[in-house]
Symmetry: C2
Subunit: 335 residues, 2 copies
């Protein structure tokens, strides 16, 4: 393994920890603009491809049929914190299809947003599938099935129509076929298809520009981008990288985190797709690497540079609020 | 950086993530039995040296003065989950010195044990310094000061008598002087002194055998080992590696996790100290590496091998309880 160090974690005067990984930036024609490490490696994209997985929701007409707006579409792309408003929108999506949380097959977990877990417990509540960070995506899947008059049950299985459509959308955008022998099961029980890191970046470049795809798909991609840009709270939540970065940049940046240190994004104006895989699976490092890529490839305006800095070089504070160190991108990631 | 892969994370048919790091096993004479990666690197030991940091509590006579038993002494070595029984013992320790939780300078956080956080919220409670995973250690520090008639305030500072004694104990055991220019501030605000990984292993080998130290210190180390072996619940808590492993092995194994992928341990019967640093700071990998070292160096009896297996090769399940992969030690860690 020879991937370079992407991010260093400082404490006091020393580097305490180091994260290696691969980063690739590709344009919509598939031209590689930046490559660090093994960019051909097949990577489970996990939740980083949720915006692509939401394409069937738009293309099938399901979103229109059920009257979904920006909030619902953004939540369909989300790894959300399980905050009350996230749960509310997922519930609304399922209700539009005549269903409720019992239709979800993602499994239950407590909100990842700590204050929401505390409030839920305080009110005597318990974890449900609606609090699962993937409940918006799964609500979208259920709605795709219902709009087509298909039984949604078993929608998480690779053989279900919904997952076949999701797979086809990803294969179409990344330009690579995926295969059963490179398939894992995701945390929320749907298949996650290993795809070369560079192909993921290419897929996002196309998704962000509408280039290299049929007009209907380009339109669906644009609608998803607009929804997320308008309602970035619904793609992640309070205090989360994706939400905070898109709140700063609006439609100029779309970023989506995935488990195990995967991060995908697109700079639509620059026509660039970005894909990152941190070898050890650390989100903290993938976030810094993504912020560094934005700083490197997006011309920053006004106070955007100052606002981005806390993501490029996050400060670490301890339980007393004392600054004890921070993360920083390695020289390899610099401009 | 050329540290070897220590642990692989599998999902379906593929290795999804990889953790590199260094591992060293040393005997009480300082002879290196196993070395993988850069074992000379200075590492912040973080909470992995809590059993060593508890020595002044015993040696000063404070533990005897306040009538501390196994629970209190084990908690003084703990990174605990903030479960009610942990909070209760920390409260009892402070009460013995005529104080309460307000004497703690570690900062407040919600219990890391999720069910305890939910129960605390449900009962209308809030996070306090007593829930801080370090509250037992800090209660011990406060007691060291009080027993000596010293003002405990500021006990987290490097210049306070308590921290000077803690530093001297670590330097004595590891046989290396630490220095101000290799000092970080820990999550709980005390200094963490960078120490070569091999010196940490040597320090634990001495701590576990009583060799190479004054009789009084050897006695104090034995008392700490006995307390932890008798009450492993109090060094971590429900569902935690340190507690579960020591519950299996009793006095034959002492292991202590630290933040950022550090893990120290000792096999007293074999006279071996173990120190691990995962480059990226991942606890999950340090745990697997430690379990692999126990499997390699401790002669296993009866069903110990079967009981250890879930730590050597932990299974990963998703939110629906479906097995989606697992962790495994690399060939480098194998016997």
């Amino acid at each position: 393994m020879s991937n370079p160090v992407l991010v260093e974690v400082m404490r006091g005067p020393l580097v305490e920890s180091r994260h290696t990984g691969a980063v690739v930036v590709v344009d919509a024609d598939g031209k590689t603009v930046l490559a660090l490490g093994d960019i051909a490696q097949p990577v489970y994209p996990r939740s980083a491809v949720k915006p692509l997985q939401a394409l069937p929701l738009i293309e099938s007409g399901a979103a229109d049929k059920f009257g979904f707006g920006d909030e619902e579409i953004a939540l369909a792309c989300a790894s959300h914190g399980g905050e009350p408003r996230h749960v509310e929108v997922a519930t609304r999506m399922l209700k539009a299809a005549g269903l409720d949380g019992s239709a979800l097959e993602c499994g239950a977990h407590w909100p990842s947003h700590a204050a929401s877990t505390q409030a839920l417990a305080r009110s005597g509540g318990a974890a449900t599938a609606l609090h699962n960070n993937c409940s918006g995506k799964h609500s979208g899947f259920v709605c795709v099935a219902c709009a087509a008059g298909i039984d949604p049950r078993g929608y998480v299985k690779a053989g279900h129509t919904v997952q076949r459509e999701v797979r086809a959308a990803i294969e179409g955008l990344t330009g690579t076929g995926v295969s059963e022998d490179q398939c894992g099961i995701d945390g929320c029980s749907i298949p996650t298809w290993a795809t070369p890191l560079s192909a993921l970046a290419h897929g996002f470049a196309k998704f962000g520009t509408g280039r290299g795809m049929a007009p209907e798909r380009a339109k669906a991609a644009a609608r998803i981008r607009a929804a997320v840009a308008a309602q970035p709270y619904f793609i992640a939540g309070t205090g989360r990288f994706c939400t905070d970065v898109m709140t700063v940049f609006g439609a100029r940046v779309l970023v989506k985190t995935g488990a195990e240190g995967v991060f995908c994004g697109v700079l639509p104006e620059q026509g660039l797709g970005i894909a990152i895989k941190c070898d050890d699976g650390a989100s903290r490092a993938a976030e810094v690497a993504m912020a560094a890529m934005i700083a490197r490839f997006l011309p920053l305006r006004g106070d955007e540079g100052a606002k981005l800095e806390r993501f490029v070089q996050p400060v670490l504070k301890n339980w007393n609020g004392i600054e004890v160190g921070g993360l920083r991108p390695s020289a390899a990631l610099g401009s």
